[in-house]
């Protein structure tokens, strides 16, 4: 990994993107320094997934720029890791967990070459970190949903990207696994990676992210949780009332049943 200190890992400037002619997100501008854990929050359909797909070039940008380490992101996609929402993985495909995780190494291996011992070791380490090493030879379709999610996370780890984009990585997994995954993400952050997580779970955001990006077609707010987690901002983001309640030494977000 390069030691060059970039001011920002990821910069997005006036981004507009969507699936047809009308943009699903627009005017998106924000910048993330390296070594940060960022939460992206917003209601369903707000554009969290769209934002990720636009950054990765999976959908075309209609306007704006996306820079990774001050150069166009599209030409550095191997440095960006992506964990999509728990979508349908091709379960019937004859590949093992190990084969799938090895796919994360392909950009580093390079065209027309075969993976080597370094790659094998990288895959082994990634599998160990997500606690799937015993299942390395299992065919991918025989894993449970949570195990699959961990396998895909291991693939991202093996890729060793500078920027990680994780779309709802904690949904569909049990609490213990959630905790373990989060600890892993924090470890990555501590090692200088930039980890961006789109999430529904507002309470985990309050506790553990360095920065929060509130999106509802546009950027509603961006900053540390202390600044962003205010009822007026959350109202604007979610379009309905949420309350922030102090429970002991934690702040908890709850839906405001009485609509004040």
């Amino acid at each position: 990994m390069d030691k060059k200190p970039w001011k920002y890992c990821l910069e997005v400037r006036d981004l507009a993107a969507g699936y047809d002619d009308t943009p699903a997100i627009e005017g998106i501008t924000f910048a993330i320094p390296p070594g940060q854990m960022v939460g992206v929050i917003g209601p369903n359909g707000a554009g969290k997934s769209t934002l990720f797909k636009a950054i990765l070039g999976l959908i075309p940008r209609q306007r704006g720029e996306i820079l990774l380490h001050e150069a166009p992101a599209l030409s550095q996609r191997a440095l960006m890791g992506y964990l999509p929402q728990l979508e349908e993985i091709n379960r019937a495909f004859p590949v093992s967990v190990e084969d799938v995780v090895m796919m994360g190494r392909y950009p580093r291996v390079g065209w027309c070459r075969r993976p080597g011992p370094t790659d094998d070791e990288s895959v082994r380490q990634a599998l160990t970190r997500v606690d799937l090493l015993p299942h390395a030879q299992t065919q991918i379709g025989q894993l449970s949903g949570g195990q699959q999610q961990r396998a895909l996370l291991a693939r991202v780890l093996a890729q060793d990207p500078h920027l990680l984009l994780l779309d709802e990585p904690l949904s569909g997994v049990d609490a213990t696994t959630q905790h373990a995954i989060f600890a892993l993400l924090e470890e990555l952050r501590d090692n200088g990676k930039t980890v961006v997580v789109a999430t529904h779970d507002l309470n985990c955001v309050v506790e553990r992210f360095d920065l929060v990006l509130c999106i509802n077609r546009r950027v509603i707010a961006y900053g540390p949780p202390k600044e962003v987690f205010r009822e007026d901002i959350l109202d604007k983001t979610y379009g309905h009332h949420l309350m922030i309640v102090q429970v002991g030494d934690r702040r908890v977000v709850v839906a405001d049943e009485h609509g004040h």
């Binding site: 990765l56 070039g57 999976l58 599209l74 030409s75 550095q76 996609r77 191997a78 960006m80 992506y82 999509p84 993985i89 091709n90 495909f93 004859p94 590949v95 093992s96 084969d99 799938v100 796919m103 392909y106 950009p107 291996v109 065209w111 027309c112 075969r114 993976p115 065919q139 693939r155 890729q159």
Partner: protein, 283 residues
């Protein structure tokens, strides 16, 4: 003693003939290459496209025949052009991929039939491209099959992991920066080339069977990609050998015999697996 002797005679006798030796080599080579490429066809649901490209090659064959040009070249041009056309027609979104394939498949083949009907006279040669004529394969044909086949194998080796990733998870492939569209075109190109190589052995109408059946049988037997490829090749080679024996001794069409053996092998494996699973108590 006499029994063994006549069995060996039975097995060896056909191959005293040059044409049978060439047919064996041609059949096995073609079967093997089809099974390699067929791995992707089966796993990615490309059987319909494969059949379409094969049928689309027919007008190219007829035109080359009429112009006394190179049949393989004519076939390749039309197969590749159709692959491109399918992509173009389905791009805008209103015409689905499946529909685009159907339209171009039938249209191209009809063109070939129309052109063939303009030949008032000897058309048996053209029929052999439709149904195969591996017993008529020449040294030159074998050389071409070997050369083009080597190109296919080399491409698969070079792009093994990229094609694997593309087949398993095209979204992630794109997210990592791989040129997914170009790779898809590469795969279709490989299929087109494989089809062209196989036209002589099994014919345009049946080549899809060689692309699908041995690989499908292999898929029943293994959970590993590379093993599926290798098993497919072995099964295809076996079908070619048995099919040729049948063709020789029963005096029936060779291409069809190979395909039927392949199909029987599939059902044999399927039935055996189901019986085996039924007998084992559920763990």
């Amino acid at each position: 003693m006499r029994g063994w002797f006549s069995m060996i005679e039975f097995l060896v006798a056909p191959f005293e003939f040059g044409f049978m030796q060439r047919a064996l080599l041609g059949g096995v080579l073609v079967g093997a290459i089809c099974a390699l490429v067929g791995t992707y066809v089966v796993l990615r649901g490309l059987a319909f496209v494969g059949d379409a490209l094969a049928h689309a090659a027919f007008p190219g064959v007829v035109i080359a025949y009429l112009l006394k040009g190179n049949i393989y070249l004519g076939a390749t041009i039309f197969a590749l052009a159709t692959a491109l056309a399918i992509g173009l027609v389905s791009r805008r979104g209103r015409v689905s991929y499946d529909t685009a394939i159907g339209i171009l498949f039938a249209g191209a083949f009809a063109l070939g039939v129309l052109l063939m009907s303009t030949i008032h006279g000897y058309t048996v040669d053209l029929f052999s491209f439709l149904f195969g004529n591996v017993l008529g394969i020449s040294q030159r044909d074998l050389l071409l099959v070997g050369l083009l086949g080597a190109m296919v194998v080399l491409t698969i080796i070079l792009f093994y992991k990229e094609l694997l990733l593309l087949s398993f998870d095209p979204t992630t492939a794109e997210a990592m920066g791989y040129p997914v569209q170009a790779l898809n075109h590469l795969l279709l190109g490989l299929i087109a080339l494989t089809i062209v190589i196989s036209i002589q052995a099994v014919g345009i109408i049946l080549v899809v069977a060689l692309l699908v059946t041995p690989s499908a049988t292999a898929y029943l037997l293994t959970e590993r990609f590379l093993r599926m490829m290798i098993l497919g090749v072995l099964l295809a080679a076996l079908a070619a050998v048995i099919g040729l024996y049948l063709s020789y001794y029963l005096n029936v069409a060779s291409g069809a015999a190979i395909v039927l053996v392949s199909t029987c092998l599939f059902f044999l494996v399927l039935a055996s697996l189901r019986l085996w699973k039924a007998r084992r108590p559920r763990a």
